[in-house]
């Protein structure tokens, strides 16, 4: 049962992709239904606003349709769509800040060895998860974006560094700093109910 549904799904997706390649509108509708949540989620975390994320999602699927001819079927479609969404959102953020660099990276050596707070426990109470979600949304872009690209879009340090125009080391620093801030937010959040 599990095996059959598991094998039926990618099969169906490849069929959808074949239909999309033939230019069938319905196939693009199906792709939207399957991947819009994922794309929307990434846009939401990158842009930090629901309205912007909705706009971005529509635009990303428009681009998917326009540039479908360039899609290489040997790569996962989800990853391709995610990559288009990332480029689109980063472009938007750059336009917003009117700077070619998205954020001013911190020097690599700026990280103090051994953070003061221990890593967050994998299992958290619902209330704490909600606090964490809020803290994530409130993080400055310089930390939120690398975290979203790493833990939501599942990109490697190299890919993130490429997209953001920084070094791999700087990506590591930003991720570490971001997580440190989240830890702090959660400890102070639980201290003051």
């Amino acid at each position: 049962m599990v095996a059959s549904s598991g094998s039926a799904e990618p099969e169906a997706l490849s069929e959808v992709l074949v239909r999309a390649e033939r230019g069938e509108s319905e196939a693009f509708g199906e792709l939207y239904r399957r991947f819009s949540r994922r794309v929307f989620g990434l846009c939401f975390h990158l842009l930090g606003s629901r309205e912007d994320a909705e706009d971005a999602t529509s635009e990303v699927f428009l681009r998917v349709r326009e540039s479908f001819g360039r899609y290489d079927p040997s790569f996962a479609f989800g990853a391709w769509a995610t990559s288009i969404a990332t480029n689109h959102c980063l472009d938007r953020l750059r336009r917003r800040s009117r700077e070619s660099r998205l954020f001013e990276p911190e020097p690599e050596e700026a990280v103090a060895p051994g953070g003061g707070l221990s890593p967050l426990a994998e299992l958290l109470a619902d209330e704490q998860r909600a606090t964490l979600a809020r803290a994530l949304a409130a993080l400055p872009e310089r930390y939120r974006i690398p975290l979203a690209l790493r833990y939501h879009a599942e990109m490697s340090y190299g890919e993130i560094a490429n997209r953001l125009g920084v070094t791999r080391g700087q990506v590591g620093v930003a991720l570490f700093r971001g997580k440190e801030r989240l830890r702090r937010a959660l400890t102070s959040g639980s201290e003051t109910p």
Binding site: S36, R37, F40, G41, H45, P113, A133, Y151, R168, G172
Partner: protein
Amino acid sequence: MTTRSCPSEPDLAVYADGEWPAPETPGFEAHLAGCPRCGALVKALRGEGRLLASVLDEARAASPEPRSVWVELATTGLCLLGAAAGFQSFFGWIEEMARPATVGLDAQSFVVSLFFDTVFYLLREGASMLTPLLSAAGLVALVVLTAFVAFSMRRRAVASSLVLLALVGLAAPAQAIERRMARGPHQDIVVPAGETLDDSLVAVGETVSIDGVVTGNVLALGQRVVVRGTVRGDLVTCAGRVDLAGTVEGNVISFSKTLVVRGPVGLSLHGAAEHLSLDREGRVKGDLVGFVGGMDLEGSVGRDLVAFGGFANLKGDVGRNVASWTDRLRVDGPAKVGGDLTAHVHRKENVTIDAKASLGGKSETRVKTRSRQSRYARPGFYVWRVIWLAAAFLTGLLLYWLFPALFAARLVGGLSIPRTLGVGFIALVATPVAIVIVALTMVGLPLALVALAVWATGVYLSSALVGALLGRALFAGREGPAPSFAIALLVGLVIVTVAVHLPYLGWLLHPLVTMLGLGIAVIQAGRSWKAARPA
């Protein structure tokens, strides 16, 4: 065994993410195998990564899904429904105005006369007080509108750019527009022959005469406006009598008791007048659209002629089509119509077309019979009211969901009806004036369009606001728990809809409801703006 210090936490974090450079990995792993502290930390860091991934995923699930096709369709449908209801009311009103079969032409002329007389009495008597009133009311309306738009958008960037735009729009007339205002009650404003005004002109006076040249647009308000010279831009005028003997190279928008055109108009002419005449020397290159008591056309219209109102006599040339919704239409001998002629009348004999008149296309007379019947006897009237009610109800709910603060007003305590009506009156009347003035400045045009949209939306939403207020007030006096907002809104809206469509009384109640609703919107928006502002 050599003493090895433990790797730093940032390094361990990179390793936990599987990003540690491959050549150095074996040494790292060897250390981890022998160091329980670092091993535990890497394990915890990996757990933290999984936690972040799942929270990010959940946050995505919690954030609303992108709007589905159905929601899009429903929203579009709702908008179309609202627009259709609005248009229907608008055309119903026009038809009502131009319905002599029941009201009689004399009665209609009387109403039109009364309307124009009242407006021009105010203009004549109040020319001196008009200037400060216009500036003050326009300024207030503009600031309120800008604040409201900015607040509704709740985006700092948009808000600040709008405020900036408003400031530029307000500042611009000082440089780009020449203002000439009458200082006494009987002072005339003249641009003498030979003078060239290299600006736009706003002129208010007993008589405004333009004998020279104005290179920009002209807004002229007065008892009499005479153009013998040249206006290179558009002419917008509101006056008892408008004489256009000179040249207007742009559009003419005129609101007057009498409008006489003896010279050329470069683009289109849109006029509301008790009597409009286009003399033999008068030429309108574009369209002529007239809302008139009567219209005599001996000159030429380059494109279409559209006439609403009492009567239209056509002796001149029309380049393309003629469409008339006037009570009577007469096409005399020398007239030439390039395209079709369509007359909408109540009686066939009200259309007279001379055999000598030349028609390029076909001529058609459509006789409207249904207007003879009272509107209350038509089923369509009720269907449209119900559609309108449904649209207003859904819009009200949507508005309540988006901006609950707008509905915070209560009839019992906290809301001063006269004050709200006063604010509503200013918003209803002064805003269009402010929009026209702002639109005349180059940079003000986008702002004017935004303001117009906000104003129209406000007028449309005013009945929903009043309905909610009324519904809640009704239930407030009742024993037991208060009903939901939707029920109060529906009950209130039904009352408002019935009230504004009562025979005779409805004509009085409708503007009152609109003013009250607009007043509530402005006051509540102001309050929540104040409350939302950081101290």
